[in-house]
C-alpha cells in the first residue's frame, strides 16, 4: 500500500501530458483526417519556449511561460494549417501525412538551429518542488499539480465540445463532413480553429513536462509515439477515449515500473496490441465510423 498510491499518482501525472497531446491529435484527426506528425514538433517547440522565457522559479512565471508556449505554438499550428494542410486536404490522406512529416522534420530541424543540441532543463516552480504526505506515503507536489491541470483541461475540452456551438460544429464535421458542410458549417474555418486548439494543447503539454525531463530534440518522438498509441487505444477521434487511455496507460506503466521493472517501457505497446485484438476500433471508437468525438 505504501508504494501503490505514489505509483498511481505518478502514473496519472505521466499520462496527463500525453493526454493533452493526444486530445489535440485526435481532434485534428476527427476533423481533418490527418494523423498529424507535426504535433510532436509543436510539443517540442512548446517545451523550448518555456526554457527560453522562464527565468527564476516563481510559480506565476511558470504559468505565464506555459501560456506563452501554448499561444506561440497555437500561432505556429494555425500558420501550418493555413499554409500547408488546407492546400493538401483535397489530395488525400497520404499526401496529408507527407506534409505533416515534412513539417515535423522542418520544425524539429529548426529547433536545433535555434536552441542547439545541448539538453536544457527547467527548475521546478517554487512551492511545487517538494513532496506532500498523503495519509502516510509521500507524493511529489508537481505530480499532483499536473493531475489538477489535466483534469482542468479535460473538463474544459468536454465543456467546449459538448456544450458550445463551436463544439457542436466540430462534432458534426467529424461525424459526417459532407452533411455538415451541406448544412452550412464552414469546414475550412473549423479546421483552422481545431488546429489552433490542438497546437495550443501541444504547447501546454510541452510546458508541463519541462521540469520533469531534460529537453532536447529526441523529446518530440518520445512523447509522440505514446500519444499515437493513446489515440488509437482510446479510439480515433474520441477525446474521452484519449483521456481514459492516457491515464490508464500512464498508471499501468508506472505500476510495471514499480513492480515488474523489466517490462516497463513495453506496457504501452502490450496494451495497444491487446486492445486492438479485442476492439480493433479502440475503446471508445465506433466500428463503422471511427471518427466520433465526445457524445
Amino acid at each position: 500500500m505504501n508504494t501503490l498510491l505514489p505509483a498511481v499518482v505518478s502514473g496519472i501525472a505521466q499520462g496527463v501530458p500525453i493526454f493533452v497531446i493526444a486530445s489535440g491529435l485526435t481532434l485534428i484527426y476527427g476533423v481533418m483526417h490527418v494523423l498529424n506528425f507535426a504535433h510532436g514538433a509543436f510539443f517540442l517547440v512548446g517545451a523550448y519556449i518555456v526554457t527560453t522565457v522562464l527565468h527564476g522559479n516563481s510559480l506565476g512565471g511558470f504559468v505565464l511561460a506555459a501560456l506563452a508556449a501554448g499561444l506561440v505554438v497555437a500561432a505556429l499550428g494555425t500558420a501550418c494549417e493555413v499554409l500547408v494542410f488546407r492546400r493538401l486536404y483535397r489530395a488525400g490522406s497520404h499526401v496529408g501525412f507527407l506534409g505533416a512529416f515534412a513539417l515535423f522534420l522542418a520544425i524539429t530541424g529548426a529547433t536545433v538551429h535555434i536552441w542547439g543540441h545541448d539538453p536544457r532543463t527547467v527548475q521546478y516552480p517554487a512551492g511545487l518542488d517538494g513532496a506532500v504526505s498523503l495519509n502516510g506515503p509521500r507524493v511529489a507536489t508537481y505530480d499532483l499539480a499536473v493531475v489538477g491541470v489535466g483534469v482542468l483541461l479535460a473538463v474544459g475540452l468536454y465543456v467546449l465540445l459538448a456544450h458550445t456551438s463551436v463544439g457542436t460544429r466540430v462534432r458534426a464535421l467529424s461525424h459526417d463532413r459532407a452533411m455538415a458542410s451541406a448544412l452550412g458549417i464552414r469546414a475550412s474555418r473549423i479546421g483552422t480553429l481545431v488546429f489552433a486548439i490542438g497546437s495550443f494543447l501541444a504547447g501546454v503539454a510541452g510546458a508541463l513536462v519541462t521540469p520533469v525531463t531534460s529537453i532536447d530534440g529526441s523529446l518530440a518522438s518520445s512523447y509522440l509515439v505514446p500519444a499515437f498509441v493513446v489515440v488509437i487505444v482510446g479510439g480515433l477521434g474520441s477525446v474521452p477515449g484519449a483521456f481514459v487511455a492516457a491515464v490508464a496507460l500512464g498508471v499501468i506503466d508506472s505500476l510495471l515500473f514499480a513492480y515488474v521493472p523489466s517490462l516497463s517501457g513495453f506496457s504501452y505497446y502490450i496494451v495497444v496490441a491487446v486492445i486492438l485484438m479485442i476492439r480493433p476500433q479502440g475503446l471508445f471508437g465506433h466500428a463503422s465510423r471511427a471518427t466520433q468525438i465526445a457524445r
Binding site: 492546400r87 493538401l88 507527407l98 499515437f228 488509437i232 486492438l276 485484438m277 476500433q281 471511427a290
Partner: protein, 352 residues
C-alpha cells in the same frame, strides 16, 4: 506511360523485365564515371535506400497498406545479418541476406496476420508499435549491445571476395539491388501484383471478384518485409555496423517520404525518390551542420507543388505548358478550398 515507345520489342522487354536490368546496368556503369571517392559511397547508400523504398512501396503504393514501421524489418534484416556473423564468422554475405529475407518474411507474415484485424490509421500505428518494440529490445537484450550496436561487419565476404574498395561495394550492391528490382518487377506484372492493386483500389470489390483480400495483404506484407530486410542487411554490410538508429521513427518516415516524393503509382517512383532524398541530404549536410530542417523544407515544397511525386512531373508539365505559354505566370494551384464535395474521399479508407 509514353505511348510512342510501345513497340513490340519494348513490350517484350517489359514483360521479361529486361528494361529494369538494363536500367540498373546503365546506372552501375555511369555512376563511377561521374562520382568519385566518398560520392560512390553515397550512391551506394542511395541504391540501398532505393531498394528499401521499393519494398515499402509494395505495401504502400501497390497494396494500399500504410506501414509506419518498415524500419522494424529493415532493422531486423540488419541485426539478423550481424548476429549470424557474430556467431559464425565465415558465412557468405549473400547467404546472410537470404536468411535475413526469410526471417523477415516469416516475422512480417506472422505480424500482419494479427495486425490486419485493424485497418487504416490503427494498422499504421500498430506497425509503428512493432518498430518501437524492436527498438526497445535492442536496449534490453544484452546480446544486441544497446546503443553501440553490432560492429565488425566489414569482414563479411560476398561470393568469397571481401568488399575492399568503395567501387567493389558499389558493383556488388547494384547487382544485388538489380536482382531484387527485377524480382519485384516480375511480381508487379504477375496476377498477384494485379490482385494487390485491386485490393488497394477497392477491397470489397476485389473480394467480390474472388480475390482473397487477407491472403493478398499478408503476402504483400511478407514480400515487402523480406526486401526491406535485404536492404537493411546491405546497409549493415556497407556501414560495417548495425545500430538502434536503424529502427528509429525518422527512418520509417524517410522511407515513406522517398516513396511519396518519387510517386507511388509508378514502378520506378520510389527509386527516384530515394535517390533524390539521399543525394539532397548529402548535399545539404555539406552546407549546414544539421540538414534536417532543409530536408523538411525541400519536402514541403515538393508536397505543395507536386503532390503526386516527381514522376508526375512530365504529365503535369504537359498539362500546364500550353497555359504557361499563354500567360507568363503559371496557373496558381488551388489556394482556398471551398469545395467539401470531395471530402468523404479520405474517410473511405478507414472503412472496411
Amino acid at each position: 506511360m509514353p505511348v510512342s515507345t510501345r513497340t513490340r520489342g519494348w513490350q517484350l522487354a517489359r514483360t521479361g523485365g529486361v528494361h529494369v536490368l538494363l536500367g540498373c546496368a546503365a546506372l552501375a556503369l555511369v555512376v563511377p564515371m561521374i562520382a568519385t571517392g566518398t560520392y560512390v559511397f553515397t550512391w551506394t547508400t542511395a541504391v540501398i535506400w532505393a531498394l528499401f523504398a521499393m519494398a515499402t512501396n509494395v505495401l504502400f503504393g501497390w497494396s494500399g497498406l500504410l506501414s509506419f514501421g518498415q524500419t522494424a524489418f529493415f532493422g531486423l534484416g540488419g541485426y539478423t545479418v550481424a548476429l549470424i556473423h557474430e556467431n559464425r564468422g565465415n558465412v557468405d554475405g549473400l547467404l546472410l541476406l537470404a536468411v535475413a529475407a526469410v526471417v523477415a518474411a516469416v516475422a512480417g507474415a506472422a505480424f500482419s496476420v494479427i495486425a490486419l484485424r485493424s485497418t487504416g490509421a490503427e494498422f499504421a500505428v500498430l506497425t509503428l508499435v512493432l518498430a518501437q518494440v524492436l527498438w526497445l529490445l535492442t536496449n534490453r537484450v544484452r546480446a544486441l549491445h544497446g546503443e553501440d550496436g553490432i560492429g565488425g561487419l566489414y569482414s563479411i565476404t560476398i561470393l568469397g571476395r571481401e568488399l575492399a574498395s568503395d567501387e567493389q561495394t558499389w558493383y556488388t550492391f547494384v547487382a544485388i539491388a538489380a536482382v531484387c528490382c527485377w524480382l519485384l518487377w516480375m511480381l508487379h506484372r504477375s496476377t498477384l501484383g494485379a490482385a494487390m492493386r485491386a485490393v488497394r483500389d477497392d477491397a470489397h470489390r476485389a473480394a467480390a471478384l474472388g480475390i482473397r483480400v487477407r491472403r493478398v495483404q499478408v503476402l504483400a506484407f511478407a514480400i515487402g518485409s523480406a526486401f526491406s530486410a535485404v536492404a537493411g542487411g546491405m546497409l549493415g554490410l556497407q556501414q560495417g555496423v548495425v545500430s538502434p538508429t536503424m529502427l528509429s521513427l525518422t527512418i520509417s518516415g524517410q522511407v515513406l517520404v522517398a516513396c511519396l516524393v518519387g510517386g507511388l503509382r509508378v514502378f520506378g517512383g520510389p527509386v527516384l525518390g530515394a535517390v533524390v532524398l539521399i543525394l539532397a541530404q548529402q548535399a545539404l549536410s555539406g552546407v549546414a551542420t544539421d540538414s534536417t530542417m532543409f530536408v523538411g523544407i525541400l519536402l514541403l515544397v515538393i508536397v505543395l507543388v507536386l503532390p503526386s511525386g516527381l514522376t508526375s512531373l512530365p504529365g503535369v508539365l504537359a498539362a500546364h505548358l500550353p497555359a504557361l505559354r499563354r500567360r507568363a505566370r503559371g496557373p496558381s494551384p488551388v489556394t482556398a478550398d471551398p469545395a467539401p464535395a470531395t471530402a468523404p474521399k479520405a474517410g473511405t479508407e478507414t472503412r472496411s
